[in-house]
């Protein structure tokens, strides 16, 4: 079970990379907990999440090879 996580905007600076993989997780709440354990500075930032390009909430279930986007508030225009 592997989840691909991609970071955008300021969050790619916070974690120091654009992409990483997380093993053995099957829901967003657990994935967030694992990310914050590895990158404690994330806790200071607001972000939204998408799985396979669809916006999701915390309790969303994850499947092998899902692509999770961790995104700061949108600022287009």
């Amino acid at each position: 079970m592997q989840i691909n996580v991609i970071f955008f905007g300021v969050l790619s600076d916070v974690v120091g990379k654009n992409m990483l993989t997380i093993q053995d997780t099957d829901n967003m709440t657990d994935l967030k907990r694992k990310l914050i354990t590895n990158y404690p500075d994330l806790i200071d930032y607001t972000y939204r999440m998408a799985v396979n390009q669809q916006m999701v909430e915390d309790n969303h279930r994850l499947f092998d090879n899902d692509i999770v986007a961790i995104m700061p508030p949108f600022a287009g225009g």
Binding site: F8, G9, I67, A69, P72, F74, A75, G76, G77
Partner: protein
């Protein structure tokens, strides 16, 4: 996840005002159109901690953003009787005073294109995964966190 039919709504760098004029001209032959609404977003020289913004570097989750742009367009067509809707958004560096967003919406009568335009621009602001990094005069940078 990207499919062949995904349209690209992004323009590399600033949007050229000449391109905007050309886009208007391409609609001359559509005689059902009675009204165009045009929205242009321009980069401001905001002052932050004593320094002025020299430009904005735009980045996006492109594949997802293109899908969201397409959905915003579809929703506008469902809600109002529009002849056409075109959206162009910059990616990469856009200097102060240059254009970063061009939305062009046309209908038979003015009210529909004006109402649709307001909704489309608000949706772009709130729903499309795009981010801005301000580049200051002294080349220091600052992520915009609206």
């Amino acid at each position: 996840m990207r499919t062949m039919k995904d349209k690209n709504y992004f323009v590399q760098g600033a949007i050229d005002p000449v391109f905007i004029g050309e886009q208007i001209a391409t609609h001359n032959s559509n005689h059902g159109i009675g009204a165009h609404s045009i929205f242009l977003g321009q980069v401001r020289a905001d002052e932050k901690v004593g320094k002025h913004v020299a430009g904005i570097e735009y980045s996006a989750y492109r594949d997802m953003a293109n899908k969201v742009f397409a959905k915003i367009r579809e929703e506008a067509f469902e809600k109002w009787p529009l002849n056409c809707v075109h959206i162009f958004h910059s990616t990469g560096l856009v200097k102060t005073g240059e254009l970063s967003l061009f939305v062009f919406c046309s209908s038979g009568h003015r009210k529909e294109s004006i109402k649709a335009m307001e909704q489309i621009v608000e949706d772009i602001k709130h729903k499309v995964p795009i981010w801005k990094k301000e580049i200051m005069e002294d080349e220091s940078v600052r992520w915009v966190q609206d």
